[in-house]
């Protein structure tokens, strides 16, 4: 049973967050003075048209981009003062990424892809292997553990990527269009996993332009031209089956 949202500690907190690219006439303001709080255990979906800055916002939250202005706290730690190595360590222990293009390492098996963050964090090969096997089992891919990404379907690849994002037990999972490259059946597989994550109290920030996926969140933020223009708190997300909400299953 999850605690009420109002009582939870903010996992992510952004104030006046801005990101600009280029200069002069070529300057692009991808994110403009944005404020955002994400509570622990909350699932936040950010929707908006292509080019509105939602992916940039996600990369800012993950410390993969440096903001041009504003402040950002992740797991109560200010990001703007952290050096690159500090950001890397934070990503290693507190964040998990899920990408639209999966970004699995082509020459590594499913298990080896999932092990990778643990090995980067200095875990023993034995521990990494065991944890990866457990996670692959939990995402229903135990029988595909030894397969290369090229031998997996799109949905299976994304499930491997989700297992990889969870392997270090991160405080926050950031997902960038996680179903953008998937067909309906694979989308359902992935949504089930996110449903499970929500049920387990995993903090999740999800960028999508698919409103059906966004409908599964606790809170829906709409972004346009680099700013959040609308916020909707969804009540049904936690109570109903995701497939039923999205209409992807009976």
């Amino acid at each position: 049973m999850r605690a009420p949202v109002a009582m939870r500690t903010p996992m992510v907190s952004a104030r006046g967050l801005s990101k600009e690219y280029g200069s002069g006439a070529a300057r692009v303001r991808a994110v403009r003075g944005l404020d955002l709080d994400v509570e622990a255990g909350e699932t936040v979906a950010i929707i908006g048209p292509s080019g509105c800055g939602k992916s940039t916002l996600l990369y800012l939250l993950g410390g993969l981009e440096r903001p041009t202005a504003g402040s950002l706290r992740l797991v109560d730690q200010p990001l703007e003062q952290l050096p690159e190595a500090g950001l890397a360590r934070l990503r290693r222990h507190a964040l998990g990424f899920v990408f639209q293009a999966f970004h699995l390492v082509d020459e590594l098996t499913a298990t080896e892809n999932v092990e990778l963050p643990l090995l980067l964090a200095g875990a023993s090969p034995h521990r990494a292997h065991k944890r990866a096997a457990d996670l692959l089992r939990s995402v229903g891919l135990a029988d595909r553990a030894g397969h290369l990404p090229s031998a997996l379907s799109g949905g299976q690849r994304q499930r491997v990527a989700i297992a990889r994002a969870l392997v270090n037990e991160p405080a926050v999972v950031l997902a960038d269009e996680p179903t953008g490259n998937l067909d309906s059946e694979a989308t359902t597989e992935v949504l089930r996993l996110f449903e499970q994550l929500r049920a387990d109290g995993q903090t999740l920030v999800l960028v999508t332009h698919d409103e059906r996926i966004a409908a599964t969140a606790d809170r829906l933020l709409t972004m346009r031209d680099g700013v959040l223009v609308d916020e909707t708190r969804l009540s049904g997300g936690s109570g109903r089956s995701l497939g039923a909400i999205t209409g992807l299953e009976e």
């Binding site: 992916s55 940039t56 090969p125």
Partner: protein, 582 residues
């Protein structure tokens, strides 16, 4: 005409867009062609100075030395002298007394052959003074290459068997190979010095009615156990040209090594931009270019660069050759610039064309065969997987884990890097051994001329080493950069999974350092083999083991320095940009 214009525009556009790569390709082909030109041009360059000297000194067709204790016991001095009237002999000079004496000068102690002469001009073998005057009772004339090696000049005082003598003159001769230091003394002075302890030998110089038959004459009179030895002028010429023959052999070996390094470098460059080339092929085909036109564009570009490299290489070879083909001061004149005949130019151009076509044929053929859509969308070469390396790397620290896995993705690139660095290390080791031999030669009493010749060889070895090391360094930079570009996605992904920039830099650097370590280990024995292949004496090749082993950390240090900057640039490239682009 329109087709030619299109090809020209595409070729010019691509060369302009990747100026640095194009320049490096030209440099590599130029270096290879220049070295090949040098080794080809050295053939026969010694003939001219020897012929010049022989004519100027009225050199003998056959030189004889009566050395009863050295060669054998059959025959008397009178019988040796009687050969002046042997059939076919039309002129002679001698007998000239010769003895071995110890010469001391400026800290050197050298055993020399001292030949007694008088003030009269000999009929055959008239040593030509290049400085000073002919022998006096208190003076000595020193053979020019020996004088140069020793550093003596006219007016200096030397000691022969303890007696002080002034250097009266410096001269050249074609009467005997100058492997032994030679001086001329007044006969009476020589006999006085020789009377102390040393044995006397005698020299006899003969002119034959048929100089071409000198070898037959010498062989006929070099009977078993004879107390003398005759040398034909052809043998003397061959002995004198030994140094250049060694240089030629070294350069020929060097040009082969350079060709291998050039192919390795070009293959890395081409492989590094294979994906880009394949997409370009797809684009050309998509807008209507036929497979043959696509192949023609790619080939034309590389052949143009190869032609530029060949022309530059031939020019450099022609300019540099005189510095390497100096026959030494034992001969008169200079061989000058070697002529670039049709064979030399043809062979150099063919080599460059083969290098260019062999290295660039793959994308052209791939482009011609691949479907347009695949060429536009597929990565040109999927990464490879090696179970053993992936398992092993999981047990290593993060930089080594990343480095090993990057190597495993593109093993051919690592193999080319190993070949390139190993060749540079091998050449360096061979040069180190040559240098050590030279030092030994200089130290060895009486071997000062051999040491001077060895020094020339050492000089050629140094030049080759520098060229090979520079080309290998360029290769290494390109290999690192190709690795950085190829690893953009995995390294950006590793960043997103928590790898620090230092770990990524370490990974990219170790992807070069690990092959570099293997190359250094292979390069040491390969260098010894190279030294022996260059015809050097293995008994003299014992440079300090520590100096040779120090090449391993030195190589790794050099690789570390060379790869640090590209690796750091690669590690600092914004990960989000790469991850978002796909």
């Amino acid at each position: 005409m329109g087709r030619l214009l299109l090809i020209w525009r595409l070729v010019r556009g691509d060369i302009t867009r990747r100026r640095v790569q194009s320049l490096m390709l030209v440099v590599m082909i130029a270096a290879t062609t220049a070295t090949l030109t040098l080794s080809l041009a050295l053939h026969g360059v010694t003939d001219s100075p020897f012929a010049h000297t022989r004519a100027a000194t009225n050199g003998p067709d056959v030189s004889g030395l009566f050395e009863p204790d050295y060669h054998g016991t059959a025959g008397t001095l009178q019988q040796f002298k009687a050969l002046r009237r042997a059939p076919g002999v039309i002129g002679s000079s001698g007998l000239f007394p010769i003895t071995e004496l110890e010469l001391t000068y400026g800290g050197h102690k050298v055993r020399v052959h001292a030949e007694g002469r008088n003030s009269n001009r000999a009929a055959v073998d008239q040593p030509l003074l290049t400085a000073g005057q002919w022998t006096t009772p208190d003076g000595v004339v020193v053979e020019r290459s020996f004088a140069d090696a020793l550093g003596v000049h006219v007016g200096d005082t030397i000691h022969l068997a303890g007696r002080a003598l002034d250097v009266a003159g410096i001269a050249v001769t074609s009467a005997m190979a100058t492997s032994d230091p030679l001086v001329w003394l007044d006969s009476s002075t020589l006999l006085a010095l020789a009377g102390r302890s040393e044995p006397l030998w005698y020299a006899l110089n003969l002119k034959l009615s048929d100089p071409a038959a000198a070898g037959t004459f010498a062989a006929a009179h070099n009977t078993p156990n004879a107390a003398w030895l005759f040398q034909s002028w052809q043998e003397i010429r061959a002995d004198d040209s030994t140094a250049i023959a060694d240089e030629r052999q070294l350069l020929a070996t060097g040009s082969v090594l350079l060709a291998i390094i050039a192919v390795a470098g070009i293959a890395v460059m081409v492989g590094g931009r294979m994906a880009e080339q394949t997409r370009r092929v797809g684009l050309l085909k998509a807008i209507g270019a036929t497979p043959s036109l696509v192949a023609l564009v790619l080939m034309a570009e590389n052949l143009l660069l190869a032609a530029m490299g060949t022309i530059a290489g031939l020019a450099v070879g022609r300019v540099v050759a005189p510095a390497l083909t100096n026959p030494g001061t034992s001969m008169l004149g200079n061989p000058g610039s070697p002529s670039l005949n049709a064979n030399t130019v043809g062979l150099a151009a063919a080599l460059a064309a083969v290098v260019a076509v062999a290295a660039t044929g793959a994308p052209a053929l791939r482009g011609a065969r691949t479907s347009t859509i695949r060429a536009l969308t597929d990565p040109a070469r999927p990464p490879q997987r090696h179970d053993g390396i992936i398992d092993l790397s999981a047990r290593l620290p993060v930089p080594l884990l990343l480095g090993l896995r990057l190597i495993a993705r593109r093993p051919r690139r690592a193999e080319l890097a190993i070949a390139s660095v190993a060749i540079a290390v091998a050449t360096f080791i061979a040069t180190l051994m040559l240098r050590h031999t030279t030092v030994l030669g200089v130290k060895a009493a009486g071997n000062i001329l051999a040491a001077a010749k060895q020094n020339n060889l050492d000089h050629v070895g140094n030049i080759l080493s520098v060229i090979l090391v520079v080309i290998a360094a360029i290769n290494l930079l390109f290999t690192t950069w190709a690795t950085v570009l190829d690893a953009q996605r995995p390294t950006a992904l590793a960043r997103s999974l928590g790898a620090t920039p230092n770990q990524i830099t370490g990974g990219l650097a170790s992807a070069q350092l690990l092959p570099g370590l293997i190359a250094a280990i292979i390069g040491i024995p390969a260098g010894i083999v190279l030294y022996l292949a260059a015809g050097e004496n293995p008994s003299q090749a014992n440079p300090p083991i520590l100096a040779m082993l120090a090449v391993i950390p030195a190589t790794l240090f050099a690789i570390g320095i060379l790869t640090a900057i590209p690796a750091r640039i690669g590690a600092n490239r914004p990960a989000a940009e790469v991850l978002r682009s796909e």
